[in-house]
Amino acid sequence: MTLAVVAVYLLTLVVIGAASARLAQRTSEDFFIAARSLGPVLLLTSLLGAHMTAFSLLGASAESYQRGIGVFALMASSSALVAPLVFLYLGTRVWALARRHGFLTQVEYFRERWGSEALAHLLFAALLVLLVPYLLLGVKGGGLTLAEVSDGALPEWLASLITAGVVLGYVALGGMRGTAWVNAFQTVLFVALGAVLFGVIVGDLGGLPAVFARLAVDRPALLVRGDLIRPLELLSYAAIPLSVAMFPHMFLTWLTAKSGAAFRLSVVAYPLCVAAIWLPSVLLGVMAAVDLPGLSGPATSSVLMRMLRAHAPGVLGSVLAGGVFAAVMASIDSQVLALSTMFTRDVVGRWRLRRGRPFAERSQVVVGRLFVAIVLVAAWGLSLVADRSLFRIGVWAFTGFAGLLPLLLAALFWRRSTAAGGIASIVTTLGTWAWFLSRGWKDPGYTVGGTGLMPVVVVLAASTLAMVVGSLASPAPPRDRVERFLSARRA
């Protein structure tokens, strides 16, 4: 029964993707950024769908299971503050520049801003490397959810493959327009079902007061931050949501807005939406600590689904599982679409242009679809061998993207910034990120020197320094190029 409900749900996604394809104009601008046509509501649901991932549901509940209510402050309330500010002060500016200059991708923007093919290629490689763990998170999370839903009938490898296959189906059919509509459907479904899911489980456990009374006796440490989270950790975690500024899929989603005003709803409503998604995840994780004790390591990633199976059996459980699966899948689509957009236009497209054979519109879409398939197969392959917790995989991915923030800040606001500075910043980010990753991958609680300071702060500081030194040590950029991209600021 459960599998039948999930199958109907997955089929619905592909149908939505196919239906939206009928609305599409068969141009690359429509396939990749929905012809810059999304209004406030679709923009909000697309941003939420792209941002709220397996990390926010499975990862958050798993981390709360081990570290208590403080996880909400670490990631949810800091994201509620930082992400909308990024949309308001950076996203809207990127949207305005994209509209004026007609670019479709992040790589295209930075290449034009600093006039450097080398920087563009390096940035694409860096985004690809950093997006791998993030994609892994989605495919692995989807597989984990589906495997739990099937009660073991589907092994995790097959469940991950089905997840990747469905995403391939609706992204390849509908492009960004399909992705936007599917995300809207998924977000509405999850928010509606999430509330029901939470109510059903809490009701079955005897209500919130009874659960907290049990926690106060059995696991009181989970009701406070206490020794499980350090003040320096809370402070430095606030830098992690800065990653939204450089996620290729968020960047791409910004460009889909039909007007600057479309951003207003996303900016204002985002903190409440983040809280609405994270609060049940954190609470269910904490409750599971007394209801399903004894889990550890990557096994905790399935704690939300185990709670669902234990307290919401039957048809209701199946429908609720579909809701969780919806949210888990919603980010993979926009990630692969963003990568395929950049590959098509900034790698293959530029190569063909140099050979004097520019891409036809139709060919761009075909190559984009092929690349989506390749990336999804690669992510699925990696999901078979990565055995880290979803929360940790997510934090490492975000750390790398946050390290690239100086690139966007310099491009938008610093007239003296240069391609050399950008290249230095990217290389420094990749170098410091890889160094910390090699030290922290085996140690789930790794902080810099054991102080509580998250590596993101060091990566960000080093990347900023590299941007400044690299720019000042290289010749000033041509005045006309700077004027083209920054003159509007003085208007």
């Binding site: 209004g39 503050l81 931050r225 007007s259 005003a261």
Partner: protein, 85 residues
């Protein structure tokens, strides 16, 4: 844009300063060391959690002002009635 953008009036300048001050205050208030070891229940949740949910609501209220007064000057709103206007 509208005929007299709010951010270019004296009232707009005051609004931008207010938004900047409120955002700075929010960054400080996020670091609630004062509830670090407090496990009292407030509105049915541990106070450390209730505080941060309330914090999200406060962020929303400040962002309503930020959208009104702190909108980037170079970004056209499109002149439509989308969003919260």
């Amino acid at each position: 844009m509208h005929s007299e953008p709010a951010e270019r009036t004296p009232e707009g300048a005051r609004g931008r300063r207010l938004v900047a001050a409120l955002l700075a205050a929010l960054f400080v208030l996020h670091q609630d060391v004062w509830f670090w070891r407090d496990s009292r229940l407030v509105f049915g949740l541990p106070v450390g959690l209730t505080y941060h949910v309330a914090f999200c609501v406060a962020v929303t209220l400040v962002l309503v002002l930020a959208v009104r007064w702190g909108w980037p000057r170079e970004v056209p709103t499109g002149g439509g009635r989308e969003g919260l206007d």
